[in-house]
């Protein structure tokens, strides 16, 4: 067991964990943030995607102990005070989710994608999201949602 402290969504969580504890389980069980999900054992599905220092990573393929001293952002950080983030609003408006299981990971990747490329083409969006599986939507509406969010976020940035 090792004691580790992680900054998740701006808040520090300290806990004793085994070295083998995966980041996703630390987030779900120690930090009690269950919006980040688990969908496979092979680092294939991306439903566990969170931002590690701003970059999307599969939290099932990182040991919690490796994240000591780093900043984690999960889906729970997106709507402080209940006002939806433009990406959340866009997924809602465009029917970019059905069962909702891939949605948190998909949105975290989308946010990082738009950070890197604020005005992506459809192909760039499809490429950028290709580490996150969705079994329900067929991706059409997810692409539309990212396009809507891109517009909303650039307008927001211009207003700032």
């Amino acid at each position: 067991m090792s004691q580790i402290s992680l900054n998740i969504n701006g808040k520090t969580t300290t806990a004793d964990v085994e070295n083998r504890t995966l980041l996703v389980h630390f987030i779900r069980e120690q930090a009690k943030l269950t919006g980040t999900h688990v969908g496979c054992d092979s680092s294939s599905c991306g439903v566990c995607t969170v931002l590690l220092d701003g970059n999307p990573v599969k939290s099932c393929t990182v040991f919690a102990i490796m994240a000591e001293g780093h900043e984690i952002k999960t889906v729970e950080s997106l709507a402080p005070g209940g006002v939806l983030h433009p990406i959340q609003q866009a997924f809602w408006d465009q029917h970019g989710l059905q069962c909702g299981y891939c949605t948190p990971g998909m949105m975290m990747t989308s946010i990082a994608l738009l950070e890197q490329n604020p005005n992506p083409s459809e192909h760039e969006i499809r490429e950028g999201l290709s580490g996150n599986l969705c079994r329900c939507t067929g991706y059409n509406n997810i692409v539309k949602a990212v396009q809507q969010a891109a517009t909303a976020m650039s307008t927001q940035a211009a207003d700032d």
């Binding site: 085994e18 969908g39 496979c40 294939s44 809602w92 408006d93 069962c99 909702g100 067929g138």
Partner: protein, 779 residues
């Protein structure tokens, strides 16, 4: 009043989304009970072996180890075997004496932490004596090795099912100008929702089982648990929380569930079990039909007879989730959209050393296999007769005036207008221009294909005279309670897995009552509160639960009429329901809304029974028959065998549309699953019975990059017997699209003489077909 904005037919945004968007969904693994134990399962690496012994001593040395359970303990409690849904077989909970398929559950371990449970599972030592493996149903057929000596009959044959007129069909085939014959396989697939299955079992202070489980059919589970465990149903509460997809995978009662409950009972602590992805992919399957289809036709292309012989691989246990009287599901829909004067379908099912099942996967019980067979065969017929595939279909469609149409394989189709739907599709895709482009490309040696599928489905199981599971008739219940302020709660026995019931159920009720759909809470999945229903699978929710809801709402309306009459001081016969309110006939200024009536129901009901609630069970008079035309346009890379789906258009006719946005979303998702089946997905086995697709590195779920961009549209031919004319749509794209993809690829390769390739159409299979054709041409 926002009714006009958000009633039926409107793309209302989903009411369930805000919680999912904020990571506040409540899925099974998000639930933890105080003092719970974790369970893990030990699986067999052998597909067929005697178990000589199980040694759990090393496992019990792990810190945190609590118990190891095998079939011996389960048998002592008489819970070693499970009945299968249609009653033709039973299934081991944990391997009893021998294992029959690779990854079969052999032991359950219980520990204080999840990690310890997995550490334990690794150390349970099982002594296996390998036995000969039957990994092919055609080999099983010989009965050289009997897989199930526990059964009365010493044979691997499970059942024969047939429908239609054999002698007449054979005679018609004999007399036909032209007969096409094709063997085709619909490969073994898996629904693979992104959330795996799981459960938590707890016996509360009153000795009542609180069973949280990923279930598409909570009430069926409650009854099944009564049958397996003997616990009275009032002592069982099944709670199905938010489901991360289902697609049929969350219909069966899995052995792990029984082990969790047994553990909770004996260890007197809550037990939690969440499947690994490997466990999810190796516990059940769908499809695996090997079909020989024959179509007879006149030389002008008018079909005269259809015959299909099928060998079904059901794996080690016949754990199919089909209704009792339909061991081959709705396979009789195999005559599709075409008016066959004669038809006969015959099917034999066999045991093999593979995982058990035959569960439905985004399909109303074997409709997908049937649709694929007929739509492929029609294309082969068109190719052989040198008739345009659209023209051939046009010649043979069941005509609008023929409905209700009695099919030769015993269905009565409710409604449809196949030619209209196809015309819309051909027009929108630009069929003529595509044919021209294809001709030009062919002249240059390029491989471009256009594939059509004009499928008909049968959904909405079902009418009680035909359909039951475990003897329970397949009707659904709905309960609506209207509160004094005009808001309300809706409960059904259905269970959304992403289909958006919280939205569409509110829309149906709001439309019927003239209330605001935003003000309805929809609750599903708790057997303590929901009325009995058979659950959500086989595209049955809108046809059955949706019908129940509309009729329950109308029951409320009839009661409301009485209260309205009292409030308005008129006779109820003077009232007419129009523009979402009761109007006094002949007195246009006098009317009352449902919201006002609701208030009156609790404040001023007069002589009427107070309150405004209704519960209704709907037994549909018939099935519903959605249809559609799908068109795929593909380009095939001659060097690598890669297929690029350049365009795909789906025109669906699912009758009355409740929420177009949700319908379109369902179609997109189903098309991507159909695409995956056509090109990527297969649970393949090698000759030694090893399962070759046990995780997402080999069971290929397409990403946004592989998945084509979908084009959709619809025609509307309402069902004449459904209360709101709705059919269903969730499964249509998965049912209809595989044939369109394959037809397109074969069309692209047809100049080379390629007639058929079995799915999945991997690059190598296509490459190989091209190379073989070139070699033949060179000879």
């Amino acid at each position: 009043m926002t009714t006009e904005k958000h009633a039926m037919g409107k793309s209302m945004k989903r009411k369930e989304d805000p919680r999912f968007l904020q990571g506040k969904g409540n899925y099974i693994d998000d639930i933890n009970l105080p003092n719970q134990l974790w369970m893990a399962l030990v699986h067999s690496p052998y597909p067929h072996a005697n178990i000589r012994g199980i040694d759990s001593s090393a496992a019990m040395e792990i810190p945190g180890a609590v118990a190891v359970v095998t079939s011996k303990e389960l048998n002592a409690y008489k819970v070693g075997w499970l009945p299968t849904f249609h009653g033709l077989d039973k299934q081991m909970v944990l391997a009893d004496g021998k294992v029959l398929y690779q990854h079969q559950e052999v032991a359950a371990v219980y520990a204080e932490t999840r990690e310890a449970a997995y550490d334990m599972a690794e150390l349970v030592e099982v002594d296996y004596e390998p036995l000969p493996v039957m990994a092919d149903p055609y080999k099983s057929m010989t009965d050289e090795v009997i897989l199930r000596p526990d059964r009365e009959n010493a044979t691997n044959h499970i059942f024969n099912w047939n429908v239609g007129k054999k002698a007449e069909t054979d005679a018609a085939l004999e007399a036909a100008d032209h007969v096409v014959k094709q063997h085709m396989t619909f490969q073994r697939c898996h629904a693979a929702p992104l959330e795996t299955c799981g459960c938590i079992a707890e016996f509360d202070a009153m000795g009542r089982l609180q069973f949280y489980v990923t279930s598409q059919a909570p009430h069926v589970y409650r009854t099944a648990l009564f049958l397996v465990l003997g616990i009275p149903e009032d002592k069982i509460r099944v709670i199905s929380p938010d489901l991360g997809g289902g697609f049929g995978n969350k219909v069966p009662v899995y052995p792990g569930y029984v082990c969790a409950i047994a553990g909770a009972l004996v260890l007197k602590r809550p037990v939690k079990w969440i499947e690994t992805r490997t466990e999810n992919l190796t516990s059940s399957f769908a499809r695996d039909y090997h079909m020989d289809i024959e179509i007879g036709a006149t030389k002008e292309g008018k079909v005269t007879a259809l015959k299909v012989n099928t060998v079904a691989d059901h794996g080690a246990f016949d754990a199919a989730a089909d209704p009792s009287k339909y061991p081959a599901g709705m396979f009789g829909i195999v005559t599709g959209s075409y008016d066959f004067p004669n038809a006969y379908a015959n099917l034999d099912a066999y045991f093999t050393n593979k995982m058990p099942g035959g569960v439905a996967y985004r399909c109303s019980f074997r409709v997908t296999e049937a649709s694929y067979a007929i739509e492929r065969a029609m294309d082969i017929l068109a190719d052989e007769l040198k008739i345009d595939p659209a023209e051939l279909r046009r010649k043979n469609f069941v005509q609008p005036e023929q409905f209700p149409y009695q099919s030769p394989l015993n269905f009565i189709y409710d409604s449809g207008d196949y030619e209209k739907t196809m015309n819309v599709a051909l027009e929108r895709i630009g069929y003529k221009e595509l044919l021209k482009e294809q001709a030009e490309k062919r002249a240059r040696g390029e491989l471009m294909g256009i594939g059509l599928s004009t499928f008909t489905e049968v959904t909405g199981a079902g009418p009680s005279k035909h359909f039951d599971i475990l003897g329970i008739k397949m009707f659904d219940g709905a309960e609506i309670r209207i509160h004094p302020s005009g808001s309300g709660i809706i409960r059904t026995g259905s269970k959304s897995q992403g289909q958006g019931h919280e939205t569409t159920w509110a829309q149906i009720v709001a439309e019927e009552l003239g209330l605001d759909p935003q003000n309805f809470l929809v609750e599903e999945g708790d057997t303590d509160t929901a009325p009995y229903g058979l659950g959500t699978y086989a595209s049955r929710s809108t046809p059955v639960a949706g019908g129940a809801l509309a009729l329950a709402a109308r029951k409320i309306r009839e009661k409301a009429r009485k209260i309205a009459a009292h409030v308005l001081e008129v006779s109820e016969h003077d009232l007419e329901w129009k523009d979402y309110k009761f109007n006094v006939m002949g007195a246009p200024s006098k009317s009352i809304t449902m919201q006002e009536i609701a208030f009156a129901a609790y404040t001023n009901p007069g002589e009427n029974e107070p309150g405004l609630e209704a519960t209704l069970y709907y037994d549909p008079p018939n099935m519903v028959f959605p249809h559609g035309t799908y068109v795929a346009v593909v380009d095939v890379d001659r060097d690598t065998g890669e297929t690029k789906v350049r365009r795909f258009l789906a025109i669906d006719d699912c009758g009355t549309i409740i929420n177009p946005m949700i319908v379109e979303g369902q179609v997109h998702g189903g098309l991507t699953e159909g695409f995956a089946i056509a090109f990527m997905q297969e649970i393949a086995y090698d000759d030694e019975g090893n399962n070759l697709a046990t995780n997402f590195t080999d069971y290929l779920v397409p990403t946004s990059l592989e998945s084509p961009s979908w084009e959709t549209g619809h025609t509307v031919t309402p069902s004449p017997h459904h209360p709101i004319g709705a059919k269903s749509v969730g499964e249509s794209p998965n049912v209809g699209s595989p044939a369109a993809f394959v037809n397109a690829v074969i069309d692209a390769l047809s100049p080379l003489g390629v007639k058929h390739i079995d799915m999945p159409l991997t690059r190598e299979k296509v490459w190989s077909a091209i190379r073989n054709a070139e070699a033949l041409a060179a000879d």
